[in-house]
Amino acid sequence: MNALKPKHQRLVLLSVALVALIGAALLAAWALRNQASYFYVPSDMAANPPAPGQAVRLGGMVEQGSLKRRADGLTIDFVVGDGKARVPVVFSGIVPDLFVEGSGVVAEGSLRPDGTFAATDLLAKHDENYMPRELADMTEAQKREAIAETE
């Protein structure tokens, strides 16, 4: 029986080491899946509510038609949902440009005993879609036409 050439021995050894390394990293990432998340979604919060007053982040979509501005002009109420659960949020301050209904948001703050989320900070979450303003105002048929023209 022929012994492996040193070159092939190194190739096998290094490949095995790489597979072990990737496996270890995947296991670590899997173990971190809860801790490494930047925020909780509303259904996490419904299933496992944090203690009132505990600082957490809540992330989800701002529900259409839920955004209301109070009489003081600074405080807003809205509802964050993820399709399964919804959490009412109250925030007082300046909102980022990308904060609109139907768009993603991450709120930092804590849960009140009555179940409302009191946010101290709002971050707007952008999605992966990029669309020019002119296109967004068009109807679907106009959009297809415009895209077809550029191709």
Binding site: G59, L98, D121, L122, L123, T150
Partner: protein, 239 residues
Amino acid sequence: MHGFANPARFLRIARWLTPALLVVGLAMTAATVVYGLFYAPAERLQGETVRIIFLHIPTVWLGMAGWTTIAVASFVELVWRHPLAGIAARAAAVPGAVFTALGLATGSIWGRPAWGAWWVWDGRLTSFLVLLFLYLGYIALADSVDREGGSSRIPAIFGLVGAINIPIIHFSVTWWNSLHQPPSLTTGGSAMAPAFLWGVLAGVLGFSLLFGGVVLARMRAILAGVQAEARLRRKALEG
């Protein structure tokens, strides 16, 4: 494969390929920046802020592609002992680190108006910052091996182990809830309107050519340094 490991043949090809890559890369990069700043449309929600993606996407792409280069070259060096592979890995480190830093800076500038924060500790941003630290560690390690003597296999092993961060960066937005959006460009298609997509793709190509030119230039410089040193040593022995 072994043909390219021959330094003389490599130098013959690199002599004309280096300026060609640099010139074409610079021209495409300049065209992308001009298009992004003056001709691209404003985005539906982000408005004018969107213009920075023409720099952000190419730079972060090269930050990750740079480390992938280091990892592949390190693998080739460890298994086949090609001296040129080790030189290629060392040459890719500094430009890779520069593009990573640029990617972090442009992302931060985009994040302030779009998200409302310069920096957040979510999975994507944190793993990308780790990439910058890995580059700095690799550069320091490769330099000290150069200066103090030691096996060039040490930085090569570091380059391979560090590559584990690349899939973590890529999947961080899928595995964990993060503030950073999921990828817009995937093998399945693009979530970008054509007006943004083509500009970004041209930027990625142009910056990549530029990166290739810089890496080749640095490889030639390292090879020239090795030759000069050997010549000095020979002279000292003769004299």
